[in-house]
């Protein structure tokens, strides 16, 4: 019996442990939506009177958003709730999974999401998959309040238009600038570059002298994640004036300009923060804000992060210039729309009227300013936001102008339904070129061949 006694006392122990565990984990009331403290950072602009009638009281929608935008989307949800009385549940997923989540949700008939965040190069795929509502008519009906012409022209169509119809609302406008550490560049006697060759030389100069102290001329994001690696490649591709397709819409990814651009990228690698193939968002951000890296191509909000005393050692010591240009007849400084997001409505949305209402709210110019002036917010999509005083004070006027300039005339990634597949092939091959297992020419020839196969040409 001693054995049995022991087992029973042990079971008692298990119960006790379970109780302790459950006591540690105080559950939130079921169904409560998490509230992030955003009020502190919010610049209050025209909060509506609380006494106003609330037409959607008691109704609710689910909004699918990516992790990097959780704070912003939750802030919008909160403001929308205050204004309409509706409840917005923000459902967050890692950005790498957002497209598969949306497709699986609609294909399976689950219909959990009403509003869906879209990485814009996936737009064609989502439309083809039947995930998105056609918003053409909605845009037409709400012309006055949405002011389509106020969206930065270079993003307005790529973010929303497939086959002549509009499917989405621009949400987060992203592009790269070339950021530099003013102090480091001065110390090593180099100027902010205007061409990629100058960039390589500047990077080399700093790295050769600073390496022993852990200082590198540049950080290049070469990790094998499409949104990271292709941003880096496309920055150079644009500088050399290459494109994905020729005038007839036929793939032209192995044009001499494209090969030269990839060759330039490969040539830059030895001088960059080691090893570019493992440098993604975090590594590049960390290297720059801690003053170890002279230059980095990065999204425009790096400015705010560099001035955040908690994360940065280079406060007010940085500058930003447009993307360098390449060489050859087509060389120009052309930024690219790297990343960038839009909002759409699910075909299975359970409360479509409220989903439309939410989109209308998010699309308002004043809301665009408001959400772009909180910490952890988005980047503007509207011209009026770039010019709005609260935004300019928030990010500094210089950065606002630089970002606006970069965004206007920026090159958009393809958005056709085959792009996810094509993008993966390109990522694979550019990664091989970076790893040295293929020459740039080979990598792009292989991409071209595969693209022709995918497009059935």
């Amino acid at each position: 019996m001693t054995r049995n006694n022991r087992t029973f006392s042990m079971l008692g122990g298990a119960l006790a442990a379970a109780l302790v565990l459950s006591a540690c984990a105080v559950p939130a009331a079921p169904g409560t939506v998490r509230q992030v403290e955003v009020t502190r950072e919010v610049v209050v602009t025209a909060t509506p009177e609380p006494t106003a009638p609330k037409p959607f009281e008691g109704q609710s929608i689910n909004v699918l958003t990516i992790q990097p935008h959780a704070v912003a989307t939750r802030a919008l949800a909160k403001w929308f709730e205050e204004e309409t009385g509706a409840r917005v549940q923000v459902l967050v997923v890692p950005y790498a999974n957002v497209t598969e989540k949306a497709i699986l949700d609609v294909t399976s008939g689950a219909g959990e999401y009403d509003v869906i965040e879209i990485w814009y190069p996936m737009l064609g795929k989502l439309v083809e998959s039947g995930v998105l509502e056609d918003l053409t008519q909605w845009w037409e009906e709400n012309k006055e309040s949405l002011q389509f012409d106020d969206f930065v022209p270079s993003i307005a169509d790529p973010y929303t238009l497939i086959d002549g119809k509009r499917w989405a609302l621009p949400y987060d406008g992203d592009t790269h600038l070339l950021f530099y550490n003013r102090e480091l560049l001065e110390k090593y006697g180099v100027k902010p570059p205007t061409t990629w060759a100058e960039y390589r030389e500047a990077c080399k100069t700093i790295t050769e002298q600073g390496k022993s102290e852990g200082i590198y001329g540049c950080a290049i994001m070469g990790a094998k994640v499409p949104i990271i690696l292709l941003s880096t490649f496309i920055n150079r591709l644009q500088g050399y004036g290459a494109s994905f397709f020729d005038a007839d819409g036929k793939p032209a990814i192995n044009s001499p300009e494209a090969v030269a651009a990839l060759q330039e990228l490969v040539d830059q690698l030895p001088y960059a923060l080691p090893d570019p193939k493992a440098v993604a968002f975090d590594e590049a951000l960390g290297g720059f804000t801690t003053g170890k890296v002279g230059m980095v191509e990065f999204w425009t909000d790096l400015g705010q992060m560099s001035d955040n005393p908690e994360q940065s050692k280079i406060m007010k010591k940085w500058g930003a210039v447009p993307m360098p240009k390449g060489e050859g007849p087509n060389a120009a400084s052309r930024p690219a729309l790297n990343a960038g997001f839009a909002l759409g409505i699910s075909t299975l949305a359970q409360n479509k009227p409220l989903a439309y209402e939410f989109l209308k709210f998010v699309g308002r110019p004043d809301i665009n300013v408001r959400v772009n002036t909180i910490v952890g917010g988005l980047d503007p999509t509207r011209k009026s936001t770039f010019d709005a005083e609260p935004y300019r004070t928030h990010v500094t006027p210089e950065l606002a102008d630089a970002a606006k300039a970069a965004l206007s005339g920026a090159f958009a990634w393809p958005t056709n339904a085959k792009w996810p597949e094509m993008q993966d092939v390109l990522t694979e091959n550019v990664a091989e070129a970076l790893a040295g297992t293929k020459t740039p020419q080979q990598a792009l020839d292989d991409t071209q061949a595969k693209w022709l196969e995918i497009l059935g040409k």
């Binding site: 795929k125 998959s129 090893d275 960390g286």
Partner: protein, 283 residues
């Protein structure tokens, strides 16, 4: 009594398997399952797909590599610590920790350990003079694979060690007593008694680890995303990418079936090997 188990198996293993086999014969996309019947085209495509071939080779290198290292170290440790003493109890308790830690957390912390500019490994290796300058452990093709494998070894060697201790504890006494009478020394006892008697048990542990390692996904997903180049793109990650980045679920299903077949053959072979070893050395 086996009703619930059989029902569970039919619903959750047979159904998905049949579904996947059916899917693998079509040109399906995530949003358009069973769209167009193409018979074996996905399989012939897979046979020609150099990246898939490469991913299988990498999977084998990874799985056999970590299994061999974990088994040798884990069993070696167990031999060394095979007595009820302070060090053993201590090691046994600690050994539990790595494999009960969530892989998500493990990957995050190892990413920080490997970080090329502020990582712990570089910090101390450079300081100790072993490295001249910082190294990007996850950025150099061969090294990245080794770095991912090291995390696996960290996570699972203690597991092999614990199981090996149990194998040793189950050994019969008589052969040792007989050997002692014959005057065999410790080394002879180890070669002629301990090793053969342990072989079946250790083989089972190795098979367990091998299957686990063949399925590796989380570590690659969170540490390297298959890069640099395609140097860490193991089969499960390549299949994931095909299904959820390219949305080609038909093709991904075909590759999954191929992997399942390969694994089944491997497991059958190893089980046969186990039976033979068991018949020869087992109790």
């Amino acid at each position: 009594m086996i009703g619930p188990a059989v029902l569970t198996l039919i619903v959750f293993s047979l159904y998905p398997l049949v579904y996947s086999i059916a899917l693998s014969a079509t040109d399906s996309q995530l949003a358009r399952p069973f769209r167009e019947f193409i018979a074996f085209k996905n399989y012939t495509d897979a046979a020609r797909d150099a990246l898939f071939g490469n991913s299988l080779v990498l999977t084998f290198i990874y799985a056999f590599g970590v299994t061999a290292i974990e088994t040798v170290i884990g069993f070696g440790l167990a031999l060394l610590l095979n007595r009820e003493s302070g060090p053993t109890r201590f090691a046994r308790t600690l050994g539990l920790l790595p494999f009960i830690t969530p892989p998500v957390a493990i990957a995050a912390i190892w990413r920080l350990i490997y970080d090329p500019s502020s990582g712990m490994l570089n910090h101390y290796l450079v300081r100790a003079g072993i490295l001249e300058q910082n190294v990007a452990f996850l950025g150099v093709p061969g090294l990245a694979m080794a770095s991912v494998m090291l995390v696996d070894i960290w996570q699972w060697t203690p597991f092999v060690f614990l199981l090996s201790l149990a194998v040793l504890a189950g050994l019969p006494h008589e052969p040792y007593e007989a050997a002692a009478v014959d005057g065999a020394n410790g080394w002879q006892q180890f070669i002629h008694i301990t090793l053969p008697l342990c072989l079946p048990g250790v083989l089972i542990i190795a098979i367990l680890r091998l299957i686990g390692a063949m399925k590796v996904f989380d570590l690659v997903f969170m540490l390297t995303f298959g890069g640099p180049g395609s140097s860490t793109q193991v089969a499960s990650f390549y299949i994931y990418k095909t299904a959820f980045q390219q949305f080609k679920t038909g093709y991904a299903s075909a590759m999954t079936i191929i992997v399942i077949v390969i694994l089944s053959v491997l497991v059958t072979l190893l089980t046969a090997l186990y039976r033979r070893v068991q018949a020869k050395y087992g109790p």
